[in-house]
Structure formats: structure tokens, C-alpha cells
Amino acid sequence: MPAALRSLAPFFVFAAVYATLALVITNSYYQLMMTLVLVWASFGLAWNLLSGYTGLVSFGHAAFFGIGAYTTALGQIHFDLSPWLLIPVAAVLGGVAGLLIGIPTFRLRGVYFALSMLAYPLALLYVFEWLGYQEVTLPMKRESAAAYMQFADHRIYTLLALALLAMIVVMTRMIEQSRFGMALLAIKQNEAAAEAAGINTLKWKLLAITLSGAIAGAVGAFYAVVLLVVTPVSVFGMLVSAQALTVTLFGGVGTVWGPVIGSAILIPASEILHAELGHVIPGIQNVIFGFAIVVLILVAPEGIFWKARDFAYRRWPALVAQPASGAPAQGTEGMPGTPAAAQPFPSGDVHAKGDAPILSVRGLSKSFGGLKAVQDVSFDVPRGSILGIIGPNGAGKTTAFNLLNGFLEPDAGQVLLDGRNVIGRKPHQLCAAGVGRTFQIMRPFARMSVADNVAVGAYVHARTDGDARRAAADAIDRVGLTGYADRLAGELTTRHLRLMELARALAGSPRILLLDETLAGLGHTEAEEVIAIVRRLAQDGITIVIIEHTMQAMVRLVDRFVVLDHGAVLVEGPPEAVTRDPRVIEAYLGKKWTAYARS
């Protein structure tokens, strides 16, 4: 992965400087500090891998750290094993713990997930105290010290920590630029949209927590080797979990640089304050430290890295050409001559399966408590047609979409895709089966480039990252955004964001596309442009179902209308008939207008 290696160049420069510095410093106190900076940076990276990229904040990473630390301590005491062996073992145990914790805890979301994570390390803390491991000291090995990772020269620990950090940084970078990283970022932005874009969110989250736990376990194991003493509070305590958060949030979330910057500033600052002031007034060092955190977060709430990058981006745009979230150099493989002709995936299978409707809805019903959101709705969508679902606000349009792409399970009824009932399938499975969708409320991945945003949608069919890039480039071309591919999504206008969302759905090569109020918030001419694009997609063979609450724009686009009102189908038919239907006018305007409309 040459792009990944190139983007790592700054890190290796940093590592070289740091190693030189570590070799020069002989004071053992400062040596320990230099090691700890790297340890906490590594631990921050472990936390970042789960929480920074998925947005699921974990307050319980001390669980993995502590398991790792006790693995080395107890493994060496009871089985006389070397840390060289025990650190990998700790990584495995940490990973297993991550998986076991993730399976039940991912049932929770948001703040409930965050707070539940607190319980694991604290439960373990008391168990280890009860087991009598209040203070475990690693036995000194005089003869074969190196075989037990015990060195008189503390500089070796710093170099080992640097090697550990480098491994984690390289791994994080590779993940960042793979479909794994894309999936995690997509989950962070909008889990529902990610699921609809064909991402098996639970699978990726479990993989993330397993890896994150493994890294944290290894780091904890190494920490025990460096400090030689392990106590339950020092490895399972709440301050350990908080340390991971602090260095990462301070430095910047969702980038390899964040934990490194945060740790390099905070750890020496707190240690020096401790050494210089701690004996004058005990506690004053933490007051100053706390104030530093508070002031910095008021100045740069998103962390130092992002603040600095945004500043540099404004000041010297040419210098920071690539988004630092790690978009690999675009176009090295995709650019030369990839017009529509070189489509990697035939996006519409026009000739398949004769005239049977691609999608049939039979007696679909869904209630929320007493509210019948959708009642006994049936309609067919012929292959290659454009169906408009319209109705006043609250008519059940979006609920109907959620039933169609698997976000909700209906109380009754069937959804037939190519004649097969797909009720009970997950959104990502339906996406893989050819159902793409966009959302009424846009949630672009603001810090990612347009190309990366769209690539998230392409992974559902792409075998390699290169395939995904090509599919994304093609989808961007089809909606006419090619000139914007390298822009950050956060800089786009509403019209371009709508088109980008459309491209993201297209990148998964859907056979049927569900568009939820794609025209909302657009001016007249902008809407016309989007309509033209949608029409072209239909001509290419993609079946389209589009929701709108206004009719005008849609009349010349759709082949048929389904009008929903109070969750039920009011009228179904071609546009000319539907617009003149008195029941439709009544639903939209109220009874008294029906008379006007008739006359």
C-alpha cells in the first residue's frame, strides 16, 4: 500500500527524532517519562480505534489494559513465562475480552453504551482485589534479564515502546484507508445510513472492539513490564480509562496523530508539574494541569490536531492538499480513461427476468403504539419505471421506506423483491441484494472527501479497495460531481450534498433506488437539475421509487403515483389522473378546495 506508506512519512520522522532524543537523555526519571508518553499514546490509539472512528465512546478501556497488565504479572510469577511471550498472549486475551464485552454491549447506543462500559473494569478491579492481588511485583531476573525484558538501561524500554507505537500507528493507518476504516467512519456519522449503504455495522463494530481490546491488552502488558508493579487501581481504575480519553480528545479524535500529540504534551506537563510543584503544595500540579485542559478545550474543542489542520488549511490551502483523515491519492488507478464505458458493475440489469415487477408490496401494515403509520399498503413497481410516493406530511411515506429497506419489520404484509419475500432481512443485506436508498435528512461524512463519502457505498459489491474507488468515481461521474471529487463534503452546498448522497447510493450498484425527499431544500432550477439526473438513471435501467410531499416537480418525472394519506393508499395511477383526483386535492388542501378544483 504505497499511499499508506507515504502518509506515514511524518510519523517515521517523528519516531526518528524521538529515538535520537531518547538516546541522548540519560536521566532515568526523564527516560521513564519518555517511555510513558509512548505507552499512553499507544493506549490512546487503542481507544481511538473503537471510539474515535465509530463514535461509540468507551469509558471502560481500563478493562483491557488491566487484563494485559495482570497477564504479564501473573504469567511471570506463576508460570515463569517471559513478557516477550506474554505480551502477545495479553493481546489475545484483550481481544477476546473485547469480543465478549462487545457482543452484549453493542445492543446499547450512545450514552448508555458509554456508561455501561464503565462497569467492566470496575467489576474486575474489585475481583482482583478480592483475589488478593492488591499489589503484584514482577520478579527480578538477574541472570537472563534480556529474555525477561528487564533492562538496566532504560533507553531500551523507550525504543521498545516506540516500536510498539509504530506497529499500532501503521495498523491504524492501514485500517483507516481500507473498507474497515470507511465502515467505521460511516457508522460514526450515521449508523442507519451505513447499514443502508450495505455495511454490516455489527460485524465491523465487533472487529473494532476486538482489535482495540487486543492493542490495549498489549499496551497494558508492556506497562506492567516497565513499572514492575501492578495494582488493581493503577490498571483497572477509572483514571486509566480517563487517560485514554484525555490524551485522545486533547490531541484530536479520529486521527493517528491525536493520541500522539495529546500524550506528548500532557504526560510530560503533568510529570514536570508533579516534580516541580508537587512537594510545595500537594495537589497544585493537578490544578494547573486541569486548568490547562479546560482552557485548551475551550480554545480548540475538537482537539489540537484538527484545530491546527483547519488553521493550516485556511492559511496555506496548497500545503494541505489531502484531507488528513487519510484519503489515499486519488486517481492513480481510477483516473485514466474511466468514462461511463468502463463501468465495473452493470448497474441496471434491464433485460433480466421479463416483465414481472421488481418490487411488490402486499398488505403492508405497521403501527407505533396506537398510531397506524402504514395500513394495508399494496403496490407494484415495474422494472425500469419511476414511481412517486406522495402525500402530506405524516402520511407514512418514510415509514413505508423504512419497511421496504429493512429498518423496520412490518406487523403484517410482504415485500417481494424479484418475487421473493424479503421481510426480516437486514438493511445491509437488502443493499447487497440491490436496494439502495437515500435519506431525507442528509448526514454527509463532513471531514471526508466526496470521493471517500461515495466509496463507503461502493464496498458492498467491491472486492478490493481499487474496485471501490472505481465504482465511486463512476457514480460521481453519473451525478456530475467529478469536479468536486476531492473536496471535503463539509464544504458542499445542499444541491451538491444531495447529489453526493445519490452517488453514494449509486456506488453500490442498486437495481432499485429509494429516494427520500431528494428535492427537499432545493430551489426551482436546482430541483430541475436533480430531476434530469434521476431521469437519466432511470433510462440507464435503474428502477426508482421517490418520495416527495409536493407534487409539481414530480408530475413530469414519474410514471405512476401512489398517494398516501393517514398511512393508507388513497389513490394510485398515472400523474394526469392523480393530480385531478378530488380525493387527492382534498387530502392536500382540505374539503373546501375540492369544489374549486372541480369547476
Binding site: 447506543r109 450512545g110 448508555y112 480528545l249 486541569g290
Partner: protein
């Protein structure tokens, strides 16, 4: 069941109910802040610690003991801690937390992280300032009530009698009274309505002429004040030091997650559950594992009833 077992059980049950009421009050304070502002306040344990010391100093140094004596004094001092910490909370929200939350920042995404680390920083400062100001020696609010008890019984033919610690019993009653007053205020008063509106839909509330940022400040201050009263009440039973917040913040979070974050009464039952589990677990487990029992019960409830006792399913899963 032998009379001895029954007595132990009832004893633990009543201890759990009284301690649980105080925990419940603590949780209500934290939940109030989260419910209105959607901010996880890591410094809540430290505010509770400040409440303990406030009660301690009101009692010993500011004449409450001299004026009201050692029996009534501690409770008056605990209640006085409420308004004082209300003021502290209000100022801290205005000066710091309000800058990265509320209408001035988006609550999701990056703003969310800023609030977390900000409250972490604040908790560090309060802890350390506490250490400098109060010293690290364990102190407690002394009242003769904490070493006397009401006796229920003897029952079952003189075999079973239960002792309820007077100090804890009174603290539990005061906790319940404070919660009732708070529920009344939130349900009925104009202020309460503006808090609920700001919690429900900040944007709509703004258009209705409600000052959402002010509502956040009030909610934060109120939450801090309520938890401080709970701290003051605990101070009569448990000795404390400047780092005591860490021990209780966990109980608060667990109780709040159990009870659900949407209501006032939910977190109270969450805290009550924690109190009961803590006390009843001593019947079967060694005391060191008391807290592990809390977390295991907590995780079990969360997994089998992900909606909590009172929360809404959609918010949690």
C-alpha cells in the same frame, strides 16, 4: 428460613432502602443535567464531595451546630449545601460548560467530545483544590443519631427485631422530600416547564421564547445542588475525603442508566436498586465484592431490560 436469616435479610433490606433513597437523590441530580443538556457530567462526584464538605463546614464552622445542636444541625447543614452548590454549578456552567454545549455548539459530533473532556478537567481541578483546601484526612459530620437506631419488633415471637439507623432513616426521608419537591417544581412551575421544553426540543423552545442557554444553566445548577444535598446527607454516615467523588460517581452512573435518563422518578428507582443490591449482596458475598455485585446486576438489567425501568426503547437501543 431460620429467624436469624430472616432477621439478617430484613436488616439488609431496610439498610438498602435507606441508603438507596440517598443514592436515588444523587442519581436524580445527575439525570437532571443529562436529561436537559445531554451532557455527561464527569465532575458530578466532585460536586457531591463539595456538598459533603459544605455540609461539614456549615455544621462545624458556620454555627449551625451551635445554633441547632448536633441532632437537627447536620440535616440543616446538608440542605444548606444545596443552594450553595447551586450557585457554584450555575457559575461553572456559565463560565465553562455553556461554552461548548447548548445552542452555541452542536451536541453531537465534536462538541460532544469537548464536553466530556471539559468535565474531566473540571473534576480534576475540584479534586485537587479540595485536597489543598480540606487536606487528605478523613472527616465526617458527627451526630449522636448515627450511632443510635429505631428498633422494629421484636417480632415473630421475640426472635426477630430490626434496627434502622436513625441518621440514615432521617436522611432517607429528607431525600424523598427533596425529590417530591423537585418533581412538583418540574411538573408544575413555569421554570419546570421551560426546562422540559428545552430538554424536549431546544430549537422549538427557542422559537417559543425560552432562553435555552439559561435553562441549561439552571438545570446544571439544580442537578449539582440536588446531588450536593445527597452528599451532605451521606456525610453524617460515611467519613469522606477529597477523592470520595470517584467512589460515588460510579453508583450515580449505574443508577441513572438503570432508571433511564428521561424522567425524574426513574433515576431515583435506579439509585434505590443500587442501594438494595449493595446491601443485600453482603448476605451472600464478601464485602469486597459488594461493588462487583452492583456492576453485575447492573449489566444484567441493562442487557435484559435495555429500556431501563422508565426509559424509552428508542433512546437506548
Amino acid at each position: 428460613m431460620t429467624p436469624q436469616l430472616l432477621e439478617n435479610f430484613l436488616q439488609a433490606l431496610f439498610a438498602g432502602l435507606t441508603v438507596g433513597s440517598i443514592y436515588g437523590l444523587m442519581c436524580v441530580g445527575l439525570a437532571l443535567i443529562f436529561g436537559v443538556m445531554r451532557v455527561i457530567n464527569f465532575a458530578q462526584g466532585e460536586f457531591m464531595m463539595l456538598g459533603m464538605y459544605a455540609a461539614f463546614y456549615f455544621f462545624t464552622a458556620f454555627g449551625v451546630q451551635a445554633a441547632l445542636g448536633p441532632t437537627v444541625g447536620p440535616y440543616v447543614a446538608a440542605i444548606l449545601a444545596g443552594p450553595l452548590l447551586f450557585g457554584v454549578g450555575y457559575i461553572i456552567h456559565k463560565a465553562l460548560i455553556g461554552r461548548v454545549s447548548g445552542t452555541r455548539a452542536q451536541v453531537e459530533g465534536e462538541g460532544h467530545y469537548a464536553q466530556l473532556i471539559l468535565t474531566l478537567g473540571i473534576s480534576l481541578i475540584i479534586q485537587s483544590v479540595g485536597l489543598i483546601a480540606f487536606g487528605s484526612i478523613l472527616v465526617s459530620v458527627r451526630t449522636p443519631l448515627s450511632s443510635s437506631a429505631w428498633e422494629l419488633g421484636p417480632m415473630w415471637g421475640d426472635l426477630v427485631s430490626i434496627f434502622i439507623n436513625k441518621s440514615r432513616g432521617i436522611a432517607a426521608l429528607i431525600s424523598i422530600a427533596v425529590i417530591a419537591a423537585l418533581a412538583l417544581m418540574i411538573g408544575r412551575s413555569r421554570l419546570g416547564k421551560s426546562l422540559r421544553a428545552a430538554a424536549d426540543n431546544p430549537e422549538a423552545a427557542t422559537y417559543m421564547g425560552i432562553d435555552v442557554d439559561r435553562a441549561h444553566s439552571v438545570a446544571f445548577a439544580l442537578g449539582v445542588g440536588v446531588t450536593a444535598v445527597a452528599g451532605g446527607l451521606l456525610a453524617t454516615n460515611y467519613p469522606f475525603h477529597p477523592y470520595v467523588g470517584l467512589e460515588y460517581v460510579i453508583i450515580m452512573y449505574a443508577g441513572v442508566v438503570l432508571g433511564g435518563l428521561g424522567s425524574i422518578i426513574g433515576p431515583f428507582w435506579g439509585g434505590m436498586t443500587i442501594g438494595l443490591v449493595q446491601q443485600l449482596s453482603t448476605l451472600v458475598l464478601p464485602t469486597q465484592l459488594q461493588n462487583t455485585a452492583i456492576f453485575i446486576v447492573f449489566l444484567l438489567i441493562v442487557f435484559f431490560m435495555p429500556q431501563g425501568f422508565f426509559g424509552r426503547v428508542t433512546e437506548r437501543t
